[in-house]
Amino acid sequence: MKAAPFAYVRPGTVADVVAELSRDGSKVIAGGQSLVPVLAMRLGRPTQLIDINAVPELGELSRDGGSLRVGAAVRQRQLQREEIAAAVPLARMALPWVGHREIRSRGTVCGSIAHADPSAELPAVAACLGATMVLRTGHGTRQVPAADFFTGALSTAIEPDELLSEVIFPVAKRGEGFGFGEFARRHGDFALAGVAVRVHTSEASVEARLTCFGVSDVPVTVDVSQQLRSALQRTGSDPSRADLLSALADHTPDVAGDVVDTVGDSHASPAYRRQLISALAAREVSRAYVSARLSESEECSR
């Protein structure tokens, strides 16, 4: 299981990276944690790999107003470790589920999003938060919102000559709470089903977004505000997590019916995945709501 031969280039600037990308058969490699297995099994045989690890700009992780900008070479473990990334709690909640420590040491945040595995965690985080992908070529830069970015299994809006140079995550605001959960047969395996949740509460309103992954060819985002409000009508606006969870359990199953789009595989049938989604959604929406209320009542906002 060795990769087929390929030409190798390690440019030092973004301009050089995109110039190299204009050659046919080029593929960007950052961490390689998804790409190398593909090469090892010879499912992919690019003629040239462009190693982007020597571009200082792509290794930047920075806060820009209400955004966290994550460069293409920023490792997943870096996002877990660096204080600046705490501003995006949903990513912090999802990262422990991404492979194993050994994978996260090298794997990049942008790489996982560009790879767009339907059962991967970070694409779901990007979809749930409405992150923005920055794509660059020799002639310019365009920004693609998450909703338009994932086009199918392992497929994205990235053109062959484009580089996903950074992902911009919105920083958590006051009154926002998050939940993340997945079910896999073994820790670190790809999820049979998983959910990412963002709840926003303010005096007047409650909004909840649920992104499901592992159940369709792309992360599927649905608005579950109505379900949450119905549950809250039964429990009152300041429920305990257990009460809210049981109320939500009655209101979320219908969501699962819409999002599960897979025909199933040897690991799990669509019916089983719907059950997982219902259970995970109830659990994580209640978690997100409770933490949103907590964040709302906090004196200082982030």
Binding site: Y8, V9, V36, A54, H100, R101, I103, G188
Partner: protein, 406 residues
């Protein structure tokens, strides 16, 4: 964070230059871009402690530390790691001073077949250094990046938990890092600590003799000190010491093939041990040669690995006649043969020296000219003798009650 240097395009059939620091030693490699770190470590540097299982990032056997964080060596192209610091299981602990994790794995019987052990050691090292407060309940999930095929998980968890509890925040750093020569499976091609070329092949003989045979700076794989009592008197032994060709013929399985001048020699040595057959091609340099003392360095390689050695032989008169022939050898094994049990390798070397000493004795007394070593030394007798010795030791220990005390 150190960024790698930009690197111009290398075509698919060309080699990429890579500089790495591995277990404290700087190495320079020149290899195709598609060579993974695990293959570079094993094939080009002889560090076969890093095991390769699935080769696509599932099993975790090949886990090493890259700049202090555990990573899967089979999912990294060596070319991508230019400038990185790598720690492999070889760097973790020393033969005589194991790392607490290694010691704990042994104590808790966390090895079973041992194939996954390097991966578990490196993964748990990362875990305990970055999350010293980790709780036992979290260990199965935290260590799930490495698979054990004999399902020895319980003992492995016990071993890691033990170290986690006894070393909260005080886990010692890898204890076997320092400058040493890394000699790949292409031993004779190595000319210095940092000069290892992936281009050399097993069959190639060194075209020219090197300036010097550089021995690794670390501990030798085996160190042997043996004294044999010869019947011949020192004058007779001195005659053999003075004739390198005669001396070479006394070496079991060895053959002198070429004299390179200035006390450099090229030769072959064949060793057979049961099913194992090794044919070393190599060179030797006699650094010192007198009537009672010979100091030499030798390096040889076989398809299965290589060996470098420094050997000092001294002959001294013994009261009551005869000569004491003493050998002091430091042997560095690399490649697959390095995986051969150290103690057994030591026993075999010792036995070979004893055979050599007998041959020197015969040659010295002139009673029998040793035949050129075209035949491997009696394979069965070597191994048999070694095993008989082991059994004797075992019986001795039983008799002395050493084992009963445990």
């Amino acid at each position: 964070m150190n960024l790698p240097q930009p690197y111009a395009r290398t075509e698919a059939d060309q080699a990429v230059e890579v500089n790495l620091t591995i277990n404290g030693t700087e190495v320079h490699l020149s290899l195709p871009a598609r060579v993974t770190l695990s293959d570079a470590l094993r094939d080009h540097l002889g560090l076969t402690g890093t095991h390769v299982g699935c080769e696509h990032g599932i099993c975790g056997m090949c886990t090493v530390l890259v700049d202090g964080d555990a990573a899967r060596a089979c999912l990294l192209f060596a070319a991508q790691l230019d400038g990185a610091e790598i720690t492999t299981v070889e760097g973790l602990g020393r033969q005589d001073e194991l790392h607490p994790l290694q010691e704990s794995f042994g104590r808790h019987h966390g090895l079973q077949c041992g194939f996954c052990t390097p991966g578990f050691l490196m993964s748990s090292y990362d875990l305990l250094t970055h999350e010293p407060g980790v709780q036992r309940d979290d260990l199965p999930a935290e260590l799930s990046g490495v698979l054990c095929r004999c399902t020895g998980y319980r003992n492995i968890i016990d071993a890691v938990d033990d170290v986690a509890q006894t070393h909260r925040g005080t886990l010692p750093a890898p204890g076997n890092c320092g400058k040493r020569a890394l000699v790949g499976r292409t031993a004779a091609a190595a000319t210095g600590p940092a000069a290892i070329s992936a281009e050399s092949t097993f069959d190639e003989e060194p075209a020219e003799r090197p300036q010097e045979i550089d021995l690794p700076a670390g501990d030798p794989t085996i160190h042997i000190e043996v004294t044999s009592r010869l019947d011949s008197n020192p004058t007779e032994v001195a005659r053999v010491f003075g004739d390198i060709r005669l001396l070479a013929r006394c070496l079991p399985g060895a053959e002198l093939t070429d004299e390179l001048g200035a006390d450099w020699y090229r030769g072959r040595a064949r060793i057979a041990l049961g099913p194992m057959r090794m044919a070393f091609n190599g060179i030797a340099h006699i650094e010192e040669q007198s009537a009672d003392r010979i100091v030499m360095k030798a390096q040889g390689k076989d398809a299965g690995g290589g060996a470098l050695a420094r050997i000092i032989m001294t002959a001294a008169a013994v009261d009551g006649g005869g000569t004491a022939l003493q050998a002091d050898a430091s042997v560095f094994l690399t490649g697959r043969i390095a995986g051969f049990g150290r103690s057994l390798a030591g026993d075999v070397s010792r036995r070979m020296f004893e055979e050599f000493a007998r041959a020197v004795d015969r040659a010295a007394s002139g009673e029998e000219e040793p035949t050129a070593g075209t035949r491997p030394p009696g394979a069965i007798s070597l191994l048999f003798g070694t095993i008989v010795d082991r059994v004797r030791q075992f019986l001795r220990r039983l008799a002395s009650g050493v084992w009963r005390r445990h």
